[in-house]
């Protein structure tokens, strides 16, 4: 056989880049002004957010004593763990080593060195992880009341740990072993235990570690992250197309949804992935007829995929932790927000009838009836969740009022969740709105805040006494009735 002749991956990339550049329609002036606006926006928003965080820190420094101080001390560690869990989950979902399907067909089937083709993507993942985690951990570092040097060490150690998680996930992807799954369980489990201990008031602070030990641990974390990431880099060439194929369709679809800020589309992509290739179910038949058949199908969905309900149950710890931080009546904000965050995953059935008109049209019922049916399961779950937090309110008010407030919390979460889920897909046919990030369809920008608007108008009144509760209840019920019966754009 003749010696194998294949170009280097960088040559190919250069070629593709040249083709792409040839048809770029923006001129350099436009690119420069876009970049300027983007940087301006980042600096503006960054300084505003920074200001808010610093003010909060000053407030906390003044006002936080007793059990609040303990919770405050624990908060950065809780957030670091939570960030690691999220990063690990996202990394495993997307690969973390991935290449888009077109590249799999047109490039990975050629003799070009596979490692060299995949390396830039991996380096991007590493850079994205480190920068992203640093940015996210800055807030807890400042609010946690660290000294500047400890704060820096905390941020560095936190991002190194997240990087190590991602790299470990990549290694278990390449070698197809289960280490990443165990790590995910470990991280989520410790997060939950720590959260439970905080809510319980059982912890009396973070054990103090001498500075040299802390520094040594930070350095060790850094080394571990770097070494693991380097090992992944070396093993990329032994990646098989089969493994890459497992996530190839997800990442471009998701990044497309992300770049157009379409969170609803992201939800749909994830839903499709959950029931995509390789998923199996045991069919069950029978059940009630008519309207109740829809409710029954949602119940079956919940049995088939109970994870979102488990997460919601786990979320009850958030208000209890807030209560242990002496948040007072403001803890209802934590309750409703946690409900809103855990709510949308409960609504898989509702999402399908909102997004796919054809399905709703197939059924011999009005839109309101169809949506109402698919609201029964998530509504029940959110109400039970909210009632489960009643005990956080008991020290603050008489039992009857506490129950009423808890119900109002549940309905507020349900209204906000419904608002989020009933987002219509953006209409790419309409004229685009120009933004620093490029042209986006109208309505997409507001989709980022969707749900939080309803949360704000229904949760804020709850803070202001029994009258607020009644007002919030009325608004929530109104919003739910309106969203169920109408076809909001």
């Amino acid at each position: 056989m003749a010696t194998l002749e294949a170009p280097r991956a960088s040559e190919l990339r250069g070629q593709v880049r040249e083709w792409r550049r040839g048809r770029a329609e923006l001129n350099y002036w436009e690119v420069a002004s876009d970049a300027y606006i983007a940087i301006f926006a980042v600096v503006m928003i960054g300084s505003m957010a920074g200001n808010v965080v610093l003010n909060l820190r000053r407030l906390a420094d003044d006002a936080c004593v007793g059990s609040c101080a303990v919770t405050r001390e624990l908060a950065p560690w809780l957030s670091a763990l939570a960030v690691a869990a999220v990063v690990l989950g996202v990394a495993r979902l997307l690969g973390p080593v991935f290449s888009p399907p077109a590249a799999n067909v047109w490039l990975l089937g050629t003799p070009v060195d596979r490692g060299a083709l995949l390396r830039p993507g991996w380096l991007r993942t590493v850079a994205f992880t480190v920068v992203g985690v640093v940015a996210v951990l800055l807030t807890p570092a400042v609010l946690g009341g660290f000294t500047p040097s400890t704060g820096v060490a905390f941020v560095v150690a936190g991002s190194a740990a997240s990087l190590a998680c991602v790299a470990l996930a990549a290694l278990s992807q390449v070698h197809e072993h289960a280490a990443a799954r165990w790590l995910t369980w470990l991280v989520t489990g410790s997060l939950w235990v720590l959260l439970a201990a905080t809510a319980d008031g059982r912890l009396d602070g973070v054990p103090s570690v001498p500075t040299p030990v802390a520094l040594a641990l930070t350095a060790a974390g850094l080394v571990a992250g770097a070494v693991l990431a380097w090992r992944v880099r070396g093993s990329l060439s032994s990646m098989s197309r089969r493994v890459l194929g497992q996530t190839e369709n997800l990442s471009p679809a998701l990044s497309g949804a992300l770049s157009s800020l379409d969170l609803g589309l992201m939800y749909d992509v994830l839903l499709a992935r959950r029931w995509g290739k390789g998923a199996t179910v045991t069919s069950r038949r029978g059940g009630p007829v008519g309207w109740w058949a829809l409710v029954h199908s949602d119940l079956r969905r919940a049995v088939r995929a109970p994870q979102p309900f488990v997460v919601l149950a786990g979320m009850t710890l958030v208000p209890y932790a807030a209560a242990s931080a002496d948040a007072g009546r403001a803890l209802v904000l934590a309750t409703t927000l946690a409900g809103l965050l855990a709510g949308p995953p409960l609504c898989a059935g509702l999402r399908v009838v909102v997004r796919t008109r054809g399905v709703a049209r197939m059924l011999p019922m009005s839109t309101a009836q169809v949506r109402g049916a698919h609201l029964v399961m998530p509504g029940t779950a959110l109400l039970l969740y909210a009632l489960g937090t009643t005990w956080t309110l008991l020290p603050l008010m008489p039992t009857q009022e506490a129950v009423r407030l808890a119900i109002a919390c549940g309905l507020s979460s349900l209204a906000a969740t419904l608002r989020w889920v009933s987002a219509r897909p953006p209409d790419y046919g309409k004229p685009m709105v120009s933004t620093p990030a490029g042209a986006v369809p109208p309505g997409v920008l507001s989709s980022v805040f969707r749900g939080f608007d309803v949360w704000a108008v229904t949760a804020l009144p709850l803070v202001f006494g029994p009258t607020g509760t009644v007002v919030s209840l009325a608004i929530s019920l109104g919003v739910i009735a309106w969203l169920v019966s109408s076809d909001p754009a």
């Binding site: 194998l4 294949a6 070629q15 593709v16 067909v105 050629t110 098989s240 197309r241």
Partner: protein, 210 residues
Amino acid sequence: MADALLTVRGITRRFGERTVLDAVDLDVVAGEAVGVVGPNGSGKSTLLRCIVGADQPDAGETLLSGQQLDERRAEVRRDLAVVMDDIDFFPDLSVVEHLDLVARAHGQRDAEDLVDAVLDEVGLMQVSGQLPSTLSSGQRRRLALASVFVRPRTLLVLDEPEQRLDVEGVAWLGEKLVAEKAAGRGIVLVSHDPDLVAKVCDRVVRLGDA
């Protein structure tokens, strides 16, 4: 035989309780075309996916020129030209750029002439500057097929290459594959077109009538 190109032994693939492929054997020598036929869902595509490494069989092995077929080895990727039944394209590369990319990635020196010749042959000259999203479904299929002919190859693995082609297109494909055989290459062809199979294939393996 001396120049056995592809040797498949005992490929077994189960999905849950169902055994889709049960110890399938397949041999292709150089200059030979083997057809794989069977009803929908009989496991034809699954067999090809197992052979080219896009899926992992529960048992069995695949040899290419006497060596374990591992698509992670560059030599294997040079010898093996695959067109599966669904193909993704770079949305922002034109037809000619797609083909250029494949030819160059395979280290073809005279990439441009070769690509032009193949474009002419598959009838995509007119649309060579267009993006894949603007092609008709048959044209997209032709583009996928063209990618086979702009690169070196010793074994062609094709999953229903005739789908969506017009009558002339299928005739052209048949002649082209016969010419590939004459050039000493091996072919594994999955197809629902009995005429095409009769024209191209020396032997036929039937799946799914256990």
